[in-house]
Each structure stands twice: as C-alpha cells, then as structure tokens.
Subunit: 211 residues, 4 copies
C-alpha cells in the first residue's frame, strides 16, 4: 500500500505548472493608460514583462530543485505531505508578490515592493528547509542515496536562507541589487552540476545551493 | 479493460491542484483602497491572506483525505465517478466562499460570510459521505483491506458532518470560534496517524475523522 | 515508438480538469449590486450558482464519455490528435457561454443566452462525432473490442447531435425546457450502464447516447 | 536514478493544458459595450473568438510538435530542463499577445497587434531551436532513432524561424496575410505525415517543419 512518491509528485507538478502559467494573467494592457498608441503601451508595460520573466524563472528553478529533492525520497508519509504542502503554499503565493512588484517597479514604492517580493522567498526557504528536515528525520532517503548527500543539501538550504534574508534587507536600500542577487542565487543553484548529465552522477553531489 | 483508479485519481489531482492554486487570484491590491503607502495596503490586506491560508489548508487536507480514501479502492465504476464528481464539485466551489470570507472578515457581515464558508463544508461533507457509501455499497474495497477499516472511516465522516453543521450554526453567533473549530477538525484528521509512517500500517486505522 | 493513448489522455484530462475548475471564476459578488446585505447578495446570485452547477455537470459527463471512448482506442495518430483537439476546443470554450448564461438567466435576453449555450453543445457534438469517425476510419479500435460497439457508439452520437440541435431551437421559445432537456440527455448517457460495474462488461454496450 | 523524460513531459503537458485553457478567460462580454441586444454583442465579439481559435490552434500544434520531439529523447539533463523551460516560457506568454490581438483586430492598431503576435512566435521559434540544439549537443537521442532524423528536424526548425520573422515583418504591411501565413505554416507542420499512422513509421520522417 506504499506508493512511493508518485502521487505527491504529480500533485506538486500540477501546482507548479498552474502557478507558473497563472503569472501571465497579471500582464494586461489595462495596467497602463490607454492614451498613446498600442506600440507605446506595449513598451510602457515593461515592468510587467520583467516581473513575469523573473517569477517564471524563480518557479522553474524551484520546480527543478523540488524534482531533484524528491528523487532522493523513497516514500510518502503524513509529515512529508504537510511539509511539501507548505512548500506548495509558498509556490501558489508567488503570483501575488509578482503582481505587487510589477505594479511598483517604476514607482515610488519600489523598495517596499521588492522587499515584499524577496520576503516571500524567505518564507519559501523556510518551507524547503522544513522539507529537508522532514526527509532527514523521517529517514525517508532511498537506500541507494549516500547519506552525506542530504547533509550537503541541508547545508546548501541553510546558506540560501541567509542569502534570501540578506536580499530582503538589501531591498530596502538597493532594490535592483536585491533582484540581481536573487537571480544570481538561482543561477548558482542551476550551475552546480550543469555540465554533468544526470545519469553520470547517479547519487549525490546534486544540490549544493538548492531552492 | 478495468483500469483501476488511475484515471480518476489523475483527474481529481488535477482539480485539487488547480483549485488550490486559483485561490491566490483573489488576493489583489485592488481590494483595498489605493490611498496610503504600499506598505499600509499590504498590511490592510490581511483578511485576504488569512482566507487564502485557511482555504489552502482546507483543500490540502481534503486532498490528503481523498488520497487516503482512494487508496482503499480497487476499481472505477460509474457511481464512483459520479460520487467523486460531487466531491470535486465541492472542491472547485471553495474559491468562491473564500472570496466572500476575505471580503467580509473585518466588516459588518462577518457572521453571514463565515456561515456561508462553513456551510460549504457541510456540502463537502455530504459529498464525501456519499463517496464512502458508494465505495461500501459497490464493494469497491481492495481485497487486502480490512472491511472494518471502511466502517471506521464511515463513522469518522458521520462525526465530521455533525461538526461542520455545528460550526455553521456557531458562525452566526461566534464567527471566529467557528473558524478555529474548522481548523481544529482538520488538525485532528491529520493527527490520527501522524507519527506512524504509511508503510508501517499498510491497511486499516487510517482515517478516524476524515474530511 | 508507439505510445498508446497515455499522453493524449493525460493532456485531455488536464484540459478537462482546468476547464471545470475555471467555471468558479465567474461566480463573484461583484456581479450583483452591493446594495442590501451580504445574505441578500448571496441569494440574488442564484443564476451564477445554477450556471456553474449545470456546466460542471456537462463537463463531468463529457469527461466520463471521453474516458469511455478513449478506452476503446489502441494508439495515437495525427488525425486522432486533431479530432481530439477539436473536442478539447469545445471543452475550453464552455466557460464563456456559461458566463453568458449566468448573466442573462433572469433577464430579458434569456432566450438568446440559452440558445447560445445550447448551440455550443451542437459544436461539441460535431467534434465528438468527428472523433468517433476518426477512430472508425483509422481502424484505431483495440483488437479485443467488438466492432459493433463502435457502430452503436456512433449511432448514439448521431442521435445526441439531433437532440442538441432541437434543444437549441427550443431555447428560442422555451429556454427553461431546453435546459432541462440538456440535463436529461446527460442523465441518459450516464444511465446506460449505471448499475453494471465496469469490470463485468469489459468490452461493448458502453455508450448508447454518449456526449 | 535516471528517470527518462516522464517528469519533464508531465510538467510540460500541464503547462500546455493550462495555457490553452486560460485563453477563454479573455473572451468576455464586458469587452464590447452593453448597448444593443445580447445577440448583437455576441456577434460584435468576433475578434475575440477568432483570436481564441487561432491561439488554441497554435498551442495545440506546438504541443503536438513538442510531443513528437520529446519522444526522440532518452533522458533529462539540466540543460534540457532549461531549454524546455524557455520553450514553456513562450507557451505561457501566448495568452497575452492573444489578448492584444483580440482587442485590436478591428481597430486602427491592427498592424502593431499582429506584429506583436507574430513576434511572439519568433521568440518561440528561438526557444524550440535551442531545445533541438540541446538535444543534439547533449547526445540525448534515443539509441534507436536514426541520427539523420534530428538533422532534418533541425533544418525544419531553421526554416520555420525564417518564416516567423518574415510573417512579423509582413504584419506591418498586410496583417491579415501574416495571420494566414501563420496558419499555413502550422498546417504544413501537421500535414507532413498526416495520412501515415504513427505506428507505421516508427522512427524518422516525423517533423520537417516543426513548431
């Protein structure tokens, strides 16, 4: 009656896919005045494109990290369902701070908007740290996974948590730098074993800076 | 040509995943006036965050309960498709009472809004009771499942039905207490075998207070 | 490299699940004036509940019929992808006539609204007839399926097509009767082998009035 | 720990299914004035129907092409996840240019709107070209696939890229011709082996003009 992690992965994939697709609903011409030509309106809408692209990238990387993490797991338990639920709570929330960011990226409230946006990632990081703890304490690792892998994943999550806190504080002073820092963290997460095909490194060394 | 329950589970997972993700569409800055700073607006929006979090939690627990229930089932029949359809009808409806709740949580109509919100769970409870009856009368249990399991699940669903009716009536007098009661019921559903990993208890003793 | 019908079923399930869940987005308090109490508003909103329930039922039955039909199919071809695409086009369109119906169910334009709503099912019926033709001409039936099954399915689809045309014309005179006729057709589709479990009748006799 | 391409296909299917279903949210009566009868409003809404149908067709064909392409792939790597992510970025973006197109199809800004719409397909073509390159450089082809197949697929993608650029420029002069050209390209993609069932041609000759 154990089912591994296929149901929880399918549900999570669904939530990720919907959240990433809903982002486009916030990009609409009505957000800019209808004065001027359509061409001008399409250009003035740039903060919405940027926020859309940014959050798309964030959710995509989070999906990849979630994928990598769940591949280490051998079965679903109640605590795993709840910790994963909290991680999905964060993912479904992302469209709102994205809309806030888009609406204020070229306005006076940019500092607040970016801090709110970055603060969401702090919440997300807490959720993913909790997910790693749940896997660790529940001894949910697949038998073939080197236990040191999880240790390194956990350390990576601790570090990214600190970076997200720093980015949120930084946003109050230099919002654009905070946004760049957020992109940089994700690029680092992706780069870790970018050029090594998944099959070649079957067990560990996956995340060093996940989420 | 029997296909077990994989198609019906996949469809249901899809509906759950979409309903839970659509909740965020109701959290929008336009719901509070644009006077004051962005920071103030983000704080004034608290009823929307709370309603979002509450309904996210409700749908997540419902998904977990649905999962647990369908794991006991051995095949899909027409009545099961219809009873499950009614359960999904309830799930897709949730975003509307959530929006009503969010809009009136700090207003004069809070009693009506919370009663409407709780009343939705009464409907949902009817649907899930019907689903359990359908499984029982159709003899759809997997052969390895102890028949007493279903008996206990059914009793659990009867009790939660009564609690949801009580919460709805309570809402007309003490709306906040009704909301807390709703959370408490779900925590109880989750706690039942929280500390026992799924694999250790393969067949029964799952739900005692589901949905 | 043949993959059976699993990808096309997964994609279709996704579209059905999303279309059925999006219906709730049309149920909103803003559609009725904000005068009067919340209780009154929730009652005045009845056309929206009714249209939501009706279309939920329609999509659910269509999903069940689609399921039953695809179970007869042994592989995916390009024409099948296109005919199925047309069927999904119809399914994704349903939220719009549903919104039109809800907004005019208690107004002067009820005849036009119901005719438009019923007309959508004529389009849908054309799509499903085409899907059956595609399966028939492409010889896509699973070998174990009795060929007479498809003949009876096809005849059923022809009849429902005529009923949907009749309902659309009827809508211009007696809109409520047309709506009831639509529900009746779906109940008939479901009833055909309601009391026989799927496993007992593995091959034919499934649809006599599908879609 | 290699998982083939099932997770990435499931996630992509989800995104395609959601993007194609969200298109209908842009078809709403509010877009035309409420003066005149409902019948008139439903007719005046024709640009929205047309844009909806057009983009539905585009996403459907893109899904079919994506399907065909991923069937050639033997495993998921980080670069494949990213290249596929860019392709999905394009797919999720489509609802926005569709909304722009619908709102300006019978107005003065039709040239800009169609050019913007066609320009999106140039971006999409870049993403799919990148995806093919990633498969090629990562040696991700299934062993049983004839290497010349990928060569022909890649050439096809190069040609469609040029056609999309041409259509975008053409849109500034003759917008309707540009739209027809876009439909024609997709019909050509589909026609390539329209009458040959998938099973008969198991390996190559699939795409000659994909995307």
């Amino acid at each position: 009656m154990t089912e591994g992690t296929s149901r929880i992965e399918a549900f999570s994939d669904g939530v990720f896919a919907i959240a990433i697709t809903l982002l486009i609903l916030e990009v609409r011409l009505q957000h800019v005045g209808s004065e001027g030509s359509l061409g001008t309106s399409l250009i003035v809408l740039w903060p919405y494109y940027l926020a859309f692209a940014l959050s798309f990238f964030v959710i995509l990387v989070t999906w990849i990290a979630h994928n990598d993490l769940m591949r280490l797991v051998r079965e679903t338990t109640r605590p795993l369902q709840l910790a994963n639920g909290l991680a999905l709570f964060y993912v479904t929330f992302i469209p709102f701070p994205t809309a806030v960011l888009a609406a204020h990226l070229d306005g006076a409230d940019i500092r607040t908007a970016v801090a709110f946006y970055c603060g969401t990632f702090v919440l997300g990081s807490v959720a993913f740290n909790l997910l790693v703890e749940t896997i660790s304490r529940g001894h949910l690792l697949r038998p073939e996974v080197d236990p040191r892998t999880l240790e390194r994943v956990r350390r990576g999550y601790h570090i990214t948590f600190l970076i997200y806190v720093a980015a949120t504080l930084l946003a109050l002073v230099a919002p654009w730098v905070a946004l760049v820092l957020n992109v940089a963290v994700r690029l680092q997460i992706l780069r870790v074993h970018f050029h090594r095909p998944a099959a070649a490194v079957p067990s560990p060394k996956r995340h060093s800076l996940p989420l």
